[in-house]
Symmetry: C2
Subunit: 364 residues, 2 copies
């Protein structure tokens, strides 16, 4: 799934979708599309690829079927919008694509879509039918996050050196498909969930001292960030280390980066990084770095989330993770990376990270 790599292939694939429907019409058949089923029942953890993936179940969607027609037409319209975008070489956000698809059908007061959830679903179906990710279809997710490190990229005719961008860094685009990596001198990547942590590491020149790339989002990583991490990992063999709080939510962020998510299982191959490793914060770090004083008591939602991730297929057989889950549960508390500031302004950059990386103190 999602083996398409570029614009030419994407255009060809969209054309095939259209030709299929046209042929149905010309031969007098009921126009139809075969759509992989995006329900939980058709999502599984693939032990071999170590990713959440979609099964092979599909459903037919017919034009002459009152239960299908609305979705059928929406999917065809999504393909038309994607074709338009590829033809003029422009992109739309999901929200803009919704408005672009929200046409009123001639001689009626029926809109093709009324809510964004409809256009979103049509676009996701189109991803599956065309084998092209939303990014290749020129429909973008949200933009967020910064990056710095010894990497030079070429993007839209500009040569951008991630190591020469002052205190700000490069603002990561929502769509990184067409970026070319020109020089990659870094040895690994640290991804962190918080922009404030990124500014800490950037000010302390961690990427220079440890010869790495630092990337941050705010909370859950965007598709653009996941994809740029994955591309650097696959194309340039950079290991990815994930730095989050000692917190079920932080660990969930790690889980999504590594194994994929249920809602985006159909696109794991273009987003997930099964070899990613967890760099911090662990229950052992709380002991070792004397952070007990800074533990934050669990709320109901934390207990729930911890139970949830502890039961994930991909964590079930990991002794290391099960040990962490148990230790956290016994503590009934979480802790933040920011608490390392209590040890010194640059403690995280000059002691914690170099020590953990040198000792390869990761959880897999």
């Amino acid at each position: 799934m999602f083996q398409l790599e570029n614009k030419t292939e994407t255009k060809k694939s969209l054309k095939k979708v259209g030709e299929k429907v046209l042929k149905d019409i010309e031969t007098g058949n009921n126009p139809s599309l075969e759509v992989p089923i995006r329900a939980l029942s058709n999502v599984k953890f693939d032990e071999k690829s170590k990713m959440l993936t979609m099964g092979k179940a599909t459903a037919m969607r017919y034009f002459f079927n009152v239960a299908h027609v609305r979705k059928f037409v929406q999917t065809v319209e999504a393909a038309a919008v994607a074709k338009e975008l590829l033809d003029v070489d422009k992109h739309l956000s999901l929200r803009e694509a919704f408005y672009r698809m929200k046409r009123t059908l001639p001689d009626s007061n029926i809109n093709l879509v009324d809510e964004q959830v409809e256009s979103n679903q049509a676009i996701e179906d189109l991803e599956l039918i065309s084998n092209a990710s939303r990014e290749l279809l020129h429909i973008n997710a949200n933009k967020m996050g910064s990056v710095a490190g010894k990497v030079v990229v070429e993007d839209k005719g500009d040569r951008v050196d991630w190591s020469k961008l002052g205190s700000g860094g490069w603002s990561i685009p929502s769509n990184v498909e067409e970026i070319e990596f020109k020089k990659v001198n870094a040895k690994f990547i640290i991804y962190m969930e918080k922009a404030a942590e990124w500014e800490r590491l950037h000010e302390d020149k961690v990427w220079e001292k440890l010869n790495c790339v630092i990337v941050s989002s705010q909370g859950q990583a965007t598709r653009g960030i996941r994809r740029i991490l994955q591309r650097l990992h696959i194309e340039h063999k950079l290991p990815i280390y994930v730095l989050t709080d000692f917190d079920p939510y932080g660990w969930y962020i790690y889980s999504v980066l590594k194994f994929g998510s249920i809602s985006l299982a159909h696109i794991s191959e273009r987003l997930a990084i099964p070899e990613a490793k967890f760099l911090g914060l662990t229950a052992d770090d709380i002991e070792k770095y004397d952070l007990k004083k800074h533990l934050i008591k669990f709320e109901e939602v934390d207990f729930k989330r911890l139970d949830q991730i502890a039961n994930y297929d991909w964590f079930k057989n990991s002794k290391d993770w099960q040990r962490q889950f148990k230790l956290m549960k016994n503590m009934r508390s979480k802790a933040e990376l920011a608490a390392l500031s209590s040890k010194g302004i640059t403690f995280i950059s000059e002691k914690y990270l170099p020590e953990k990386i040198k000792n390869r103190d990761f959880i897999d």
Copy 2:
């Protein structure tokens, strides 16, 4: 207020705070600090400067006073952390500063601060006592947003050309105090509330065609963004145009950028831009660009927020704004800039914005 401009002045001011307390101790007086009162009662809209500003009311805070001592010590500790940061030329986020201040007092189990709200308040008090903004005290707010346009800055030894950063743009730092503007060839700035809108304008090369700078946040503008807009406005006379949805929340964002906010009234002079103008979406645009079909019905919160901003002192005497508020109230609906995509992928960039700017179709 907040007339300090640089590190030397800030250090001097912090030293003065310390010396004052020391002198109290040496002369056998009850150590005290005079703190401007940050209550609503001491905030007013200043008709002359057109900003929300703080009044002159102050309160004394004493060490030997059980009701005062905790806050007194916290403020002194905030000053100590700021001094440490300035000495080693490092910055901390608010969250990190909280942990840095969370010391346990010797021979006790009392923490100097237990919650971040305490350290935040101590830092805000310190801003007022020292006349130095939090940024000058090296304590940073959150980082967010992107910028592109014909501006070259120097920051941390790097020369960053905002017009040569591919599809990503420059990631705006949380603290922009030390950035130097080296070349400013743009004629004005468009600030927008949504990153997706920014990507639209960037892909369509609006900043190149209209010779401007484009800046986005996500939702309410961060302090870093407000300050960089203000600096470009003051130091390089660039007009600021604010592009938001037809939405009470979007208009609130405009209001904060222009006049300041109640909670940050003490720092309006370093953040507010009274000459900023509103560029986006108005009730008249809904008519003119035929967007009625895309109106989104008000919810309870929208009615409330609209009433609230309609009653702001600074909007009360504006005929133009009162007319907009009335028209919106009659429509009982809001609308998004993204809806312009229904007119064409690049409609906003090639028609809407050039037309509005050419006609100087702003609201003040």
